[in-house]
Each structure stands twice: as structure tokens, then as C-alpha cells.
């Protein structure tokens, strides 16, 4: 597959990196020479220097042969025009990153899809969506619904109170008598492990579960997390992301938003009627106390500065807020700050890149979990397939692969060893990257 990415910012580069691992043929376009040099040196990706709204530049990138054109520069109009031109010049599928939510919501005035942009993405709204999911079940670090919630992928940290630590997974099966969920992967000290029955669980493990709808609460009980109901949220930072988050969450929670800039506060106050806007500095502890931070269930810091966000989340944690979420746009910092003490970190560029990545791999890869070298993929079992002959434990699956759930006739199933696959089952497979190719071979 030939893919052109316009924009060498964080989204573009991260996306290029993800796609390159899938052996796609990638060309990156950017107007800054230094950025391209960096990419060529570190990722070995072909590049074209220039503005992607130019015919010449697009031609140089051989857009007429491209299967996919993704424009993710920071400038919205560039993205829209590039994809429009690219489509006209022969790109098969186009995706543009936008900032103006009106384009996404209001399709009656102008449907950009009609004009030739096949998909629109907005990092801000993706970040808002991610936070919405996290607040819905605050004990989790990640949650991802598969096929409208028939199965759910959930991530959480095991802490000291968890009843399962220092036991093997097999030993804890009494906590899961109805087989409503299973552990599919865990991350220990930066290393991804696809677990077996004899894998031991330790404090601090980042564990990923796959669960049926009715098993979600059981997962929390299994890990020893108390159910926590979020009622009110304190948001710091009123930039675009903060605005979307406050707007989206105001339907479900009481929201207070703290913004430093007077003009921005006024703008937000006029446009977000259900949100209480406070004009002040979100890192000022006395201001936070004055605003009653102790009474808040969740604290979301989304200012433009990652350090500020992490710091104010730590302060909030110290002051007794149960759930803290920090936006960390600096990817370097993101890698190393998971363990500092903030409950969840979000990165809207990663969110956008993951979203696009998921879209490209349609019918194949479902989710790419950051910091985990495994992917969850979906396959359909064909008739007379080898793998539908025996129960799962008797199949000789490659190492580091786990079959982690099946959707059969619109119902989700958890697939422990005795499960028997049938034709037309949609199978979720969790696999380390190096085992991907072997998994694909199994389903052929």
C-alpha cells in the first residue's frame, strides 16, 4: 500500500513510524527541510520537500498512485486543500485533519466527503472522547469498545490492595467463575508480556483485560478497584481541547473550567452555558483550594504545557482528587511520565495517529496501545479452516499470541482454552508485533 503523509509534525511522524512497521510504502511531505532530514535519518522514510497544496509537490510524491493521502499539518486549510487536490489527482482515499468542529458536526451546509475528502479527524475531539471514556470508568487507564461494546478492552494498574498480586493467573480463576473476562496482555517495566496460565501477577503491572459487557464490574473487583462514580470535574486550560472536553462532558458532569486568559475566559463563558468558568491560574494552589478542589472527583489538566499539566495533576492528587488526567503533548515526556503518579496521560496527537492507523487497517487492526508492543486484530474464521477443527488449547498457535474473544452472531464470547471456533466467527487476536505475520498465516 502506498501512503502519502503531509505534515511532519508529531502526528505525521508518529503515524509514519506506525505505518512503516507494517511495511507500507510511505512518503512524507513537509515544508521544513530539517524535519525531513530527521525523518529520513531516523525512520528511513522517503520524503518530499514542499507545500502539499502544490500540484508539483503532489506529483513529485506520485499522488496518482497513492492508495491513501493523509494531511495532518497544523494548518487546517492546507489539509483540506491538499486532500481535495490529491483526490482529484488520483489518490484513492483521503484523510484530513481539521480543527473546526463545525465541519464535523454540520453536514448540511457543506459535506466535505462529497467534495472528495473521505475522512475528517480532529485531534481535539478525539482527546475529548478519550477522556469521556476514562471518566466513565475512572479506575481504568484505557478502555476501548469493540463492535459497540459487545466486547471491551480495558487497561488498569494492579496496586497494593489488589487480591491477585503475587499469584499466577491460573490461581486467580476462582475470581472469574463465569468466564466473563480474561487477561490478554500485561506490561511490566516497559516489557510487554502475552500471559499464560502460569504467568505471575505483581504489584504495578499494567494489565489489559478483554471483557463481556456484564463482566466489566467483575474486572474491577478482580483487580481490587473500588467502583468510583464521578460527579464533578475540574478542568484546567481553556484552549480548543479544553473547550471540547468541557462541552462534551457538561452533558454528564458538573464542570468547572479554569482559564488563565481573561479574553478566553469570556469567550468560554459565553459559549459554554453549562460550564462554570473561572479566570485564574490553574497551578496556583490557593486558587485551586478556593475553588473547592477537595470536592472534585476528577481533575483534568489540558493546558498547552505538559509540565504544567503533570504538576497540577500531582498537586490535585495531593489535595485528594481521586482521578487525575494530564494532557502531555511532548511525546518524549509521555514515554517516561506514566509512572510519576498521574492516573492517566493523554496525547491528542497519538490519539489522532491511532485513530487513522485503526482506519487504515480496517477489518484488521483494532487498536494500537501505546507503550505496548502488541496489537489487537480482528479476523474472520473461514469455512473449513484449520483453526475451526479443534478447541483453542489444542491449536498450535504461534508464541506470544492470544485469542482474546469472539463475536458470534452479534454476541461477545470470552475464549478460554476450551472454546471451539466456528466458521464466520469474528475473532480478536492479541499478538506481539513480531508474531503478526504468523497469525495472519493461521487464518488464511
Amino acid at each position: 500500500m502506498k501512503i502519502i503523509i503531509s505534515g511532519g509534525g508529531d502526528v505525521g511522524v508518529y503515524l509514519a513510524k506506525l505505518l512503516e512497521q507494517e511495511f507500507h510504502d510511505i512518503i512524507l511531505i513537509d515544508i521544513q527541510k530539517e524535519k525531513l532530514e530527521f525523518v529520513e535519518k531516523n525512520l528511513g522514510i522517503a520524503t518530499v520537500l514542499g507545500d502539499s497544496t502544490s500540484y508539483k509537490v503532489l506529483k513529485e510524491a506520485q499522488v496518482e498512485e497513492a492508495d491513501l493521502l493523509i494531511s495532518v499539518t497544523s494548518i487546517e486549510s492546507t489539509n483540506i486543500i491538499s486532500t481535495l487536490i490529491g483526490k482529484k489527482m488520483g489518490a484513492k482515499y483521503t484523510i484530513a485533519r481539521i480543527n473546526n468542529m463545525e465541519y464535523l458536526i454540520d453536514k448540511t451546509t457543506l459535506d466535505l466527503r462529497d467534495l472528495g475528502i473521505d475522512d475528517l479527524i480532529s485531534p481535539e475531539s478525539l482527546a475529548a472522547r478519550e477522556i469521556k471514556y476514562i471518566l466513565k470508568s475512572p479506575a481504568l487507564t484505557e478502555t476501548f469498545d469493540i463492535d459497540g461494546g459487545k466486547l471491551t478492552l480495558m487497561g488498569l494498574y494492579l496496586d497494593r490492595d489488589s487480591p491477585v498480586i503475587n499469584q499466577t493467573i491460573a490461581e486467580t480463576s476462582y475470581l472469574n467463575p463465569d468466564k466473563l473476562f480474561m487477561i490478554v496482555a500485561l506490561n511490566r517495566k516497559g516489557k510487554t508480556i502475552i500471559p499464560r496460565g502460569n504467568t505471575k501477577l505483581y504489584q504495578g503491572d499494567h494489565v489489559y483485560f478483554i471483557s463481556k459487557e456484564e463482566g466489566k464490574n467483575k474486572v474491577l473487583a478482580y483487580a481490587g478497584k473500588k467502583p468510583l462514580q464521578i460527579k464533578n470535574v475540574l478542568v484546567v486550560g481553556g484552549s480548543r481541547t479544553g473547550k471540547y472536553i468541557a462541552h462534551r462532558l457538561s452533558k454528564y458532569y458538573d464542570i468547572k473550567l479554569i482559564e488563565k486568559d481573561q479574553e478566553k475566559s469570556n469567550f468560554l463563558a459565553l459559549n459554554l452555558p453549562k460550564v462554570q468558568i473561572v479566570n485564574g491560574n490553574g497551578t496556583d494552589v490557593s486558587l485551586l483550594q478556593e475553588e473547592g478542589i477537595k470536592n472534585y472527583d476528577a481533575f483534568v489538566s489540558v493546558t498547552g504545557n505538559a509540565e504544567t499539566n503533570i504538576f497540577s495533576c500531582l498537586v490535585a492528587k495531593e489535595l485528594g482528587v481521586k482521578k487525575t488526567i494530564a494532557m502531555v503533548e511532548n511525546i518524549g515526556l509521555f514515554d517516561h511520565s506514566q509512572k510519576i503518579g498521574v492516573d492517566t496521560l493523554i496525547n491528542k496527537k497519538l490519539a489522532a495517529a491511532n485513530f487513522i492507523f485503526r482506519n487504515i487497517q480496517k477489518g484488521n487492526v483494532f487498536s494500537h496501545l501505546y507503550g505496548i508492543d502488541a496489537e489487537i486484530m480482528e479476523f474472520t474464521v473461514k469455512k473449513n479452516s484449520r483453526i475451526s477443527q479443534k478447541p483453542i488449547m489444542e491449536l498450535d498457535l504461534p508464541e506470544n499470541v492470544v485469542i482474546s474473544g469472539v463475536i458470534r452472531k452479534d454476541k461477545g464470547y470470552i475464549t478460554l482454552g476450551d472454546f471451539h471456533l466456528k466458521p464466520n466467527d469474528r475473532v480478536m487476536v492479541f499478538a506481539l508485533q513480531q508474531s503478526m505475520k504468523k497469525v495472519e498465516a493461521c487464518f488464511k
Partner: protein
């Protein structure tokens, strides 16, 4: 934009030219009551209108022509033009009353008196220039207080003139002159337009806006006329059809302009019919709703404005609730035999500042009088309509402000506390500004009513109390026109002059008059206060 201050002489010439323009319109308007006089065979009245028209046209044309060309008015001049323009209209408009009063021979005068009546013609009162001025001011400001004790005895021509004056005064002379002359450029026209009414821009240009206003106003009046003719015909089938048409045209004009002059001696009570009083509630409420509201309903088909528009909703709600409360107060006092009939009609008449009267308010107990003053006459109808008073929107804004202020104690100092008012969201500083201007206006308004109450108390005749003084003063200030009997040809000239100025101030919403005063005392130069 021309920001260079004019020379003193040029300023004066510019003012005179604007006033001249308004006079020319008035001069032509006088031809209409002249024709009515001829139709009814009142040739002396017709002559009176003709002579007045010539005099006014001559003065107006002279002012207009000899002061051309002049620079365009600046923002500080717009309000002065409005104040002076209205004063000049009231003065010039009194000429037909005086001339007709002097030239009509006594035997003709006696023909105006309805057969069997025991009084002399009220026309003779207008020989006194002060009475003529008062009547003219009361007419053009849509007040409705009158020196014509027995209306039918001044002749059909003059009755029609009074009604027409209220009708034109209601929509506004400045708006009319903009629509007719198209003399001023956009900016100057906008300034003038804003000086007289609430200044909402309905069409892209001010000329189109003022034309739309007149179209809507005319349409509503025609509708109201038909409504009254048909209603009267069905309720009082024995009533002379000729009289019906004359009454309905006049009452439609004075109802739409919320003026409240009547063709009958006893106002609407003269019909002696409960059904007729109910019929007449409709034109009053029609007149109390704002023109921009009608514009949105008629031109833009926004029918949800009936409940979305805060002013329309409030006028309707206030009418019902206030009418019922007043009725209960009257019921308790036991003075009126039909407290609900009188209470509801009088409350609506006061709230809409129309001033049609069906009750003998002089006999009411103090609580009813004070309630109608506070709850209706001082409040008034919707801004953007032809009503007087503080206007409902300001009252609601101040109430909202109180709520906002109290609520402020429950949120932190740093919170940006937005106010939602009249389908708009206001930031704290915007709200403060709006609140300050509404509160200042209301304060001056109430202060003027109180001062005038004291003057009334000092100069009114025997047999009246301080509550009645308050009532009469609020009626003049709010251009309502209800009277408990203090106003009449025999009143003290000091009091008559007080009300004369009060009506002027009330019509213009105070500020233009204060600007004029400031100009007279300190000139137009900016200074530190």
C-alpha cells in the same frame, strides 16, 4: 467619519435645518384633518387647519432651505435634534387648536354640542395658548391627558387631528423624516434613528428600517380598525354605522399608538357595554408590543417569538396577573360594583400606557391607586413599541441584575459569571454596563415622578390626596393619560406647565432632554465631570 467639531454657527444652522424638515412634514399632515373637517361640513375648522398648515410650511421651508448646505449631525447632536424637534412639533402643533378656537363663531360652536347636553363647547378652552400647547404635547407624545373636557364638543375635525397626532407621534417624527427625506447618510440617519426609539436595526439601511416600521405600524392600525368596526357592529348593532367607522378609525390610531384619546365624552366607558370594553383590550395590547417583534413575526415568520420574546411574553403575563391583583384590591375596597371589569381594563390601559378610562379612579382606595402606579404605569410596555414608562425590558433587566448580584455571593471571586437575558448571554462587564444604564434611567425616572408629585401636591385643587398626586404625575411622565381629575382647564398653570414638560421628557426617555440641558448650560464641548 467626520469627527471635526463644527463651528458654533454651523451647528445652529444644522439644528434649524433638521427642525425645518420635521415642520414641513407636520405642515403637510395638517391637510388630512382639513379634509376630514370638510367631509363633516366643519368649514371653520378646515380653514383653521389650512391657515395653520400654511404658517407651519412657510416656517419649515424657510428653516430647511436657508440652512442648506450644512454639515451632517454628529452623535452629540442627534439627541439635541430629537429633543428640540419634539418641542417644536408640540409648539407648532398647537396652532390649529388656537386658530380654530378663535375663528369659529359661537353659533357654529353650539352646533358641535350634542343635543340635550348641558355644557358649553370645550373648544373655547383652546383660546388659552397654554391649554392648546398642553393638548398638542399630550397628543404628539401619545399621552392622552386632555383639556377638552367634553370631547364631542370640539368638532370631528379636531378630534380626528388629535387622534392622528397621537398616531404619528407614536411611531415617531424622526423616523418619519428619515423615511421621507432620505437626506442623511447612513451614519447620521442611524444616530437620529437611535435618538428617538430603541434603535434596533431591522433592515440593512436605516431608511429601509424606518420604512418597514411605518409599514408594520400602518398595517397593524388598519387591522385594528377593521377589528373594531366589525366588533362594534356585532356588539352594538343599534349604534350608528357612520359613528362606528369614525370611532373605530380614531380608536385604532390612538390604541395602536397607546395614546388613549377617545371620540367619546366618557372614553370607552361611553359605550356602556362590558363586551365593548373587552373588545378594546385587544388594540391596547397590540400597541404595547414592540415593532421589532412584529417585524420578526411578519417578515421573518418567526412565530415562536410569541413565547421566546421576553418582552411580548412579559406584557401578556403582566397584563393577566396584574389585572387580577388589581381586581382583588378593588373587590376588597368595595368601591367598584364590578371590580373585575374595571380592574382588568384599567390595569391593561395603564400598563400599555394607553390611558382609556372606564373607572372613576378618584374614588379608588390608596392601595389600588398605588398598585396601578407601581405595577403598571411606571413599568410600561415593551421597548420598541409606542409605550411610555420605564419599559418592561429595563424592569426585567434590573430584577435579573439583583438575582445576578445575589448569586455572586455564592460563586468564587474569579468565576466569570455570565448572565442569560433576552436570548443573549452577557459577560459581567457587559451586564454591569447594561445594568448601570437601566438603573440610572429608572432612578432619574422615579426622581422626576417624585418631584412632579410634590409639585402636584402643592398646586392641585382641594379634595385630592398625595396618592392621587402620585397617580397624576406618573400618568403624565409615563405618557399614560389616565386621570383622577386633577388635569383640566381649571388646573394651576404651574402644574399644567410641569405636566407639559413631563410628557415631553417621558416620550423622549429623559436622556435627550438632559443632553439638551447640558448643551444649553455648558455647550457641546467635552469636559471632565
Amino acid at each position: 467619519m467626520n469627527l471635526i467639531p463644527h463651528k458654533k454657527k454651523e451647528t445652529f444652522r444644522m439644528l434649524f435645518k433638521q427642525i425645518g424638515g420635521v415642520q414641513i412634514i407636520l405642515g403637510f399632515i395638517l391637510f388630512i384633518p382639513m379634509i376630514v373637517s370638510i367631509i363633516y361640513g366643519e368649514y371653520y375648522s378646515a380653514l383653521g387647519f389650512f391657515v395653520s398648515s400654511i404658517i407651519i410650511l412657510f416656517i419649515g421651508y424657510a428653516l430647511f432651505k436657508f440652512n442648506d448646505p450644512v454639515p451632517e449631525p454628529l452623535s452629540r447632536h442627534a439627541l439635541i435634534i430629537a429633543a428640540l424637534g419634539w418641542m417644536s412639533i408640540a409648539i407648532m402643533g398647537s396652532i390649529p387648536f388656537m386658530i380654530t378656537a378663535y375663528i369659529t363663531p359661537p353659533d357654529i360652536l353650539n352646533q358641535f354640542i350634542p343635543s340635550g347636553a348641558e355644557y358649553t363647547s370645550s373648544l373655547q378652552f383652546f383660546k388659552n395658548p397654554l391649554h392648546a400647547l398642553f393638548e398638542s404635547m399630550s397628543a404628539f407624545t401619545t399621552t392622552g391627558l386632555t383639556m377638552a373636557v367634553h370631547e364631542p364638543s370640539i368638532g370631528k375635525g379636531l378630534i380626528f387631528y388629535r387622534s392622528l397626532a397621537q398616531w404619528i407621534g407614536g411611531a415617531g417624527f424622526i423616523v418619519l423624516s428619515i423615511a421621507v427625506f432620505r437626506q442623511s447618510s447612513g451614519r447620521a440617519a442611524m444616530l437620529l434613528y437611535g435618538s428617538e426609539s430603541s434603535g434596533e436595526r431591522l433592515q440593512p439601511t436605516i431608511i429601509d428600517t424606518s420604512r418597514s416600521i411605518w409599514k408594520i405600524y400602518l398595517g397593524l392600525t388598519l387591522f385594528s380598525t377593521l377589528f373594531l368596526i366589525i366588533g362594534t357592529y356585532f356588539i352594538l348593532p343599534d349604534y350608528s354605522f357612520k359613528e362606528n367607522i369614525f370611532d373605530s378609525i380614531n380608536h385604532a390610531m390612538t390604541g395602536q399608538s397607546t395614546g388613549g384619546f377617545s371620540t367619546l365624552d366618557d372614553s370607552i366607558a361611553g359605550y356602556n357595554s362590558k363586551a365593548m370594553e373587552m373588545l378594546y383590550l385587544f388594540p391596547m395590547i397590540l400597541g404595547a408590543l414592540s415593532i421589532p417583534f412584529y417585524f420578526k413575526v411578519i417578515y421573518e415568520k418567526q412565530f415562536n417569538q410569541f413565547w421566546k420574546n421576553i418582552q411580548t411574553r412579559s406584557v401578556l403575563l403582566f397584563s393577566i396577573i396584574g389585572g387580577i391583583i388589581l381586581s382583588f384590591l378593588l373587590l376588597k375596597s368595595g368601591f367598584e360594583t364590578e371590580p373585575f371589569r374595571k380592574g382588568i381594563f384599567q390595569f391593561v390601559s395603564a400598563l400599555t400606557t394607553t390611558g382609556w378610562q372606564t373607572a372613576d379612579i378618584n374614588g379608588w382606595d390608596s392601595s389600588s391607586v398605588v398598585f396601578i402606579v407601581m405595577g403598571a404605569m411606571i413599568v410600561g410596555g415593551a421597548a420598541g413599541a409606542t409605550v411610555g414608562g420605564i419599559k418592561i425590558i429595563r424592569v426585567l433587566l434590573i430584577l435579573k441584575g439583583v438575582q445576578w448580584h445575589i448569586n455572586g455571593y455564592f460563586v468564587s471571586d474569579n468565576a466569570v459569571q455570565v448572565v442569560e437575558f433576552n436570548q443573549k448571554r452577557l459577560l459581567p462587564e457587559e451586564m454591569n454596563k447594561e445594568l448601570a444604564s437601566a438603573a440610572t434611567f429608572s432612578f432619574i425616572y422615579l426622581l422626576l415622578v417624585l418631584i412632579s408629585t410634590l409639585i402636584t401636591y402643592y398646586y392641585m385643587g382641594d379634595g385630592y390626596t398625595i396618592t392621587e398626586a402620585l397617580f397624576e404625575s406618573a400618568s403624565a411622565q409615563g405618557t399614560v393619560g389616565l386621570s383622577c381629575g386633577i388635569t383640566g382647564p381649571s388646573m394651576s398653570p404651574v402644574l399644567e406647565l410641569t405636566y407639559f414638560f413631563q410628557m415631553w421628557i417621558g416620550r423622549l426617555e429623559i436622556i435627550p432632554v438632559l443632553v439638551l440641558l447640558r448643551t444649553i448650560i455648558w455647550g457641546t464641548k467635552p469636559k471632565v465631570v
